[in-house]
Symmetry: D2
Subunit: 334 residues, 4 copies
C-alpha cells in the first residue's frame, strides 16, 4: 500500500512528546485526581496553574492544568534536541503555510507556537528547568505512579493528511490501521524510538482523544484503578484494563474530573530500526481493538477534548466519520 | 437483619471445597484451555476422563472433565476432615430428608453422594491419592497458574433456604447481599477460613454459575488473559479483569470451550474470627458490583451450567427472578 | 521417621497466630518503620503503646509496641475460636505443669497468660474489638502493605520437645528439617490451614527469631525494600528477596529500628488435608535454605529477640547449638 | 568536574546496542539456559551456532552462541541507522587509528569490524533480516521473558580513555562514578535514549562484565530466578534481585553454564534531554551499590569474560585495579 514517507534528513530534530496544557474547572479536584490516581508529582502551583510531571521526569512539567470555565486543550507540546532546531522547525512550518510565531512561556526555554496541518495548536521547546527525578522517592509514589508522558492521540477528519505532514517532519510510522480500501483510518507516529509520540484516528476533529503516561509495571496500572474506586472516581475508569492490539501495551483509560481522557499503559517495544516495516492492522480484525475481553464503549470512540479556538470539521467523502465507528465501534457493546 | 445461624457444633467437619465434575464435548479442546489458559496441571487422563489439579494441590484432582454430548455439571465436591465425618454428614442429610448414599468414585476415598436442599448434586470425601505439588515446578507453570480450587457460585431461586441449610451444616456467612427489604439475594459461605467455599445468588436454578481457582498473583491473572487472546479464546474473557466488591479480590471470568464459566482471582482475606460480623452489601450500591470500571454484561448474570438430571425452577413471589437482574443487571451495559 | 503426633480431639480450638507484643526504645521511629516500610495501619496510640494491624485485619491489633529501655518480646499471642476454649486450654497448660493464669489486657477479650514448655510467654484470647478492614482503602496503603500476621519463628534448644507440646495442643506438622540422624532441627506447625503459625528452629533460646506478615503480592514485598532504602532503612533489609525452600513463599527479612526481625512474604499453599504427609527437608540440601541466590548471612541464624524475663539455655548433647549452624550456616557466606 | 564531551554532530548515527557473540562449550546446555531461564527465543540453529533474540525483537539475533573449547566473547555489536553511516564510522575509526575492516557476517547486512580504543572487538551493521516479534506469542514466553538486548558492561583499566572515545562517537554520558579525586571509575554511556548502551568500570581488561536484557516486569525477573532454581541453575543467581543505584533499575545477575554473566532488569528512565546533567555517584556512598540489601560479592567485581585474542592489562598509576574494589568491593560480603 502507498504510504507517506519519512524524511530522515530534516534540518531539525524533534525528540519526543513533551507536555500538554489542559483547562479545568476546579484545580484542587484535578490535583487530587492527577496526584493520587494517576500518580503525577506536583512541581509547582500558582493560583491558576498547576505544573505536574511523572515520577521519572527531570523536566519541569509534562502536564499543565489551568483554571478556566470549561475543559479544553490549549496546546500539545513537543521537544527538539537543541535550540537551533527551533529555527529549522520554524522554517518548516512556514514552508507548509502553518501559522507559527515565537511564544513566551513560563518554565520553558525558547518556545515556538504553531498550528499544524490538521489544525492542532503546538508548542515546541528545547529546554525546561530541571528538577529532581522522583523515581527513587518510593515513599512518595501514589496510584498509577505515572512515570513520564508518552504520546497523544488526536482525532482528525483526514488521517492521511496529518500523517503526511508529520512524516515530512521526520516522524516514523510504526503501525497503522487501514481497511481493504487502503484508506488510512489510524496512524501511530513516533520520534523517540518506541511506537508512538502522536497518534491520529479518523473522526470529527481536530480534538484531543487522550494523553498517555507510562507506568512502571502492570501492578501500578491496577493500583490506579483501585485508588480511583476508593476515591470516588470508579465510574471514570472508562476502558480496560486490557491489552492493545497496536503497540501491544497493557492499558487503562480514565476520564479526569473534567472529562479529559488519560491513558496509563506499560510495556512498549523499541522501534529504531529502519528495516522493520510498519505494522498494518485491519479494522475488521477483532483482535486489533481487543485481543481479549470487551471492546471499547462507543463513547471511547466519539468523545474527546476540543482545542481552544480551533474549528472542527467532520470527515469527508464516502468514508465519513462513521467509517471508523463502523469498523471499530461496530463490535463494541451497543 | 435476621440471618440464619451457623451451627458450630456439628458432629462432622466439612473443611473445604474439593472438586467439580463437568461434562465437555471435546476433551482435547478442554485440555488445551485448562492447561494453557487457566494453568491447571494434568494428573491423569483416560479415554473419557481428564483429571486436573492446581499447581499447589497435592490431592489427585480438583477438576474432572468427562466427555459427553453436551456441557453440564455432574457434581460439586466437598472435603471433610476424617472418614468418620462422612458418617455424621450422612445422618445430617437424612435428617434433612436429602437423598444420600455411598458412591464408588475412582481416585477418591470413601465418598458420599447427596442432593442438598437447593437440589445440587454433591460428592463428599475425606481423602484422595496424593501426588506431588507442582508449586515449585516453575518451568511447567502456564497461563493463569491456577493454584487451587477455591469456591463455587450456584444460582438458586431461594437463597435464604440454601443459606439456612449450609449454615446448619457448619458454614460461616462472610458476606451477603440484601436490598432494603432484607431479602437475601446473595450469600458467601465458607468453611476454610476465607470468604467463600460456596456462594448462592438468586436466579433460576439450581445451576452452576462458576467454579473459581486462585492465582498466585495479579500478573498470572493477566497472563491468562493474554494467553487466552493468543490461543483464540479472547472472546471468552467474559468479565474483568476487575475488583470485586464482596471479597475484595481481583478477578477475571472466562468461558471455557463448552461455555462453563471459570473465575481466576487472588488476594483473599482471612476469615476465622467469630466477633467479626458478616458484611452486608446493598445491591443498589454500584460499588458492590464494580468498585471501578464497567459492570458485568447481562449474560454474566443469567447464563450458567445445568446440573445433570436436576430440574430447575424460577424464583417465586413478588421478588422474582428479575429482582437480582434489576438490582445488578440494571446497571450493566444494556 | 518417628514424629510427634497431632491430637485432633483437643477440648479446645486454637485457630491462628494472633499478635505479638514487642518493646522498643523510640515509639515514633518504630511507627515510621512499621507504617511506611512494612505497611501496617495504626489502630490506636497512647503515650507508651502503639497498636498496629495489617490492612486486611478487622481485629484491633496484631502488633503491639511498648516503649521500654531496650528491645525484647513480652508475649506472642494465639487465638481460640470461642471463650470456652480458653477454659479447656487452661486445663491443658496445667496438665503440662505450665504456668498459667488469667490476664487483664486492654483491647482484648478474656485473656489467658501462660508459659509454654519451651519457655515462651503466651497470651491467648478469643476476641478483640473489631475495627474496619483497610483492605480497600487503597489510597492509604504504604510500603509492603502488610496484610495480616501469619506466624512466629522461635529459636529453642530442644525442637522435638517444643514440637511434641504443640502437636498435643492440636497443631499440625506441615514441614520439618531433619538430618540423617533424624534429629528434629526445624519444625513448621500450623492451625489455620496453611504451612505455619509457629516455627521452631534449633538454637540457644527461647528467643523470637521473627514475626511474619503476609503481603498481597510480590510487588508489595519489593516496594517495601525500595521504601526502606529511600527512608534510610536499606541496611536493615537483612535477607532476600528470595524464595523459601520450606513453605515455598517469596520472602524478605527486615530488621526494625530496634533489631527485631520482621518477615514479609506471600504465596502460601493451603494445608488442611490429613492424607498429605509432612514434608521432610535435609539441612544439607542447599535448595532447602535457598533454591536460588545467596544463602542467609550467619547473623540471620544466630541473632534474635529475647523474651522478657525468660532464661535462655543452649542446645544440649552431641548435636549442640552449632548443629544447625553447621548444616545451615555452613553454606552461608562466611 | 572536567568530563569528556559528546560530539552531537558526528557524520554517522549509532542507534543502539545490537548483539553479542559468545563462545560456549555445550550448545544444548546454553540453549536450555537462555530459552527457559532468560527467556530468549531461538531464531535459528546450526550445528555450531545458535541465534537468539528477545521476545520483542524483530531483528534476527541479539545473542549469538558459538560452540568452542572455552567461554569467551568474540564481538559486541552496535547498530547504525543507515548503511551510509557505516562509511562515516569507518572513517572515524581510522582517524582514531583503530583497526577496522569490512566483515562478512551471516544474517546481518553490510558489517564493519573494528577494535575500539579500549581494545574491544566490535561489529557494526545497519540491518538484519526481520522476523516476527514474539511479543504477543504469550503462550511461548518462558522464564525471564527477556524482551530485548539493552547494554554491555565492559571492564577496562582506563575508564576516562574509553569514555572520551565513545563520547567522540556521539555517546551521551548519563551517569558516572567518581571519588573525590575526580577519577572516572565508572561511566554509563548511551545512544538509544535511556541510561546505557555501554558501561565501563575500572578493572583489569578489556573484559566483558555482562550483557543485559530488559524484562517486561519485575515478576518476570523473579520468575527467571525461580525457573533457574528448578532447573538446577540456582547457584548461578549471582546477585540480586535488587535495586540499582545508577539507573535505578530492579535487576538480577545470572552466570550462564559457561560463566558468562547476564543481567535481567527493568524500569529504565528516558534520557534524551540535553539540559539534564549526568548524575554523579560517589563510590563511597553505600546507596550507590545497594540502596537496600546486601552488596555484591567480590567475584561480581572481579570475574568477567575475556575477548577472543585480546590482550588484557591492569589499571595503572596510584589508583590501581584495587581502587574500585576498595570503594565498591570493600563493602561487599568478605
Amino acid at each position: 500500500m502507498d504510504l507517506p514517507q519519512t524524511d530522515y534528513d530534516t534540518p531539525f530534530n524533534i525528540t519526543r512528546t513533551s507536555h500538554v496544557v489542559l483547562t479545568v474547572r476546579d484545580l484542587e479536584a484535578s490535583r487530587l485526581f492527577y496526584t493520587e490516581v494517576i500518580g503525577l508529582m506536583v512541581t509547582q502551583q500558582s493560583a491558576d496553574t498547576l505544573y505536574l510531571r511523572g515520577i521519572e521526569e527531570a523536566c519541569h512539567h509534562s502536564l499543565v492544568l489551568r483554571r478556566a470555565d470549561g475543559p479544553a486543550c490549549e496546546r500539545i507540546g513537543m521537544r527538539v534536541l537543541r535550540d537551533r532546531d527551533l529555527d529549522g522547525l520554524k522554517t518548516f512550518f512556514e514552508s507548509h503555510k502553518c501559522p507559527v510565531h515565537w511564544g513566551d512561556v513560563p518554565h520553558q526555554g525558547r518556545t515556538l507556537h504553531a498550528i499544524d496541518i490538521p489544525g492542532v495548536p503546538l508548542e515546541i521547546c528545547a529546554t525546561m528547568p530541571v528538577v529532581q527525578r522522583a523515581l527513587t522517592q518510593f515513599h512518595l509514589h501514589r496510584g498509577g505512579c505515572a512515570a513520564r508522558i508518552d504520546h497523544y492521540q488526536i482525532l482528525v477528519p483526514d488521517v492521511r493528511k496529518a500523517c503526511t505532514f508529520y512524516m515530512a517532519a521526520g516522524f516514523w510510522l510504526s503501525e497503522y490501521i487501514a481497511p481493504a480500501s487502503d484508506e488510512l483510518v489510524g496512524v501511530f507516529l513516533q520520534r523517540k524510538g518506541n511506537p508512538h509520540d502522536i497518534v491520529f484516528f479518523k473522526e470529527a476533529g481536530p480534538r484531543l482523544h487522550h494523553v498517555a503516561f507510562t507506568t512502571p509495571e502492570t501492578c501500578h496500572l491496577l493500583h490506579a484503578c483501585d485508588v480511583a474506586g476508593t476515591l470516588g472516581y470508579g465510574a471514570g475508569v472508562e476502558r480496560g484494563p486490557g491489552r492493545h492490539g497496536p503497540g501491544h501495551a497493557m492499558y487503562v483509560y480514565f476520564r479526569d474530573p473534567d472529562g479529559h481522557r488519560v491513558e496509563l499503559f506499560n510495556t512498549h517495544y523499541q522501534a529504531m530500526d529502519l528495516e522493520v516495516a510498519p505494522v498494518r492492522w485491519d479494522p475488521a480484525d477483532a483482535r486489533m481493538m481487543a485481543p481479549w475481553g470487551l471492546p471499547a464503549q462507543e463513547k471511547w470512540f466519539t468523545e474527546a477534548t476540543p482545542f481552544v479556538g480551533v474549528t472542527q470539521s467532520a470527515p469527508q467523502g464516502p468514508a465519513k466519520r462513521m467509517t471508523l465507528e463502523r469498523f471499530l465501534g461496530g463490535t463494541s457493546t451497543p
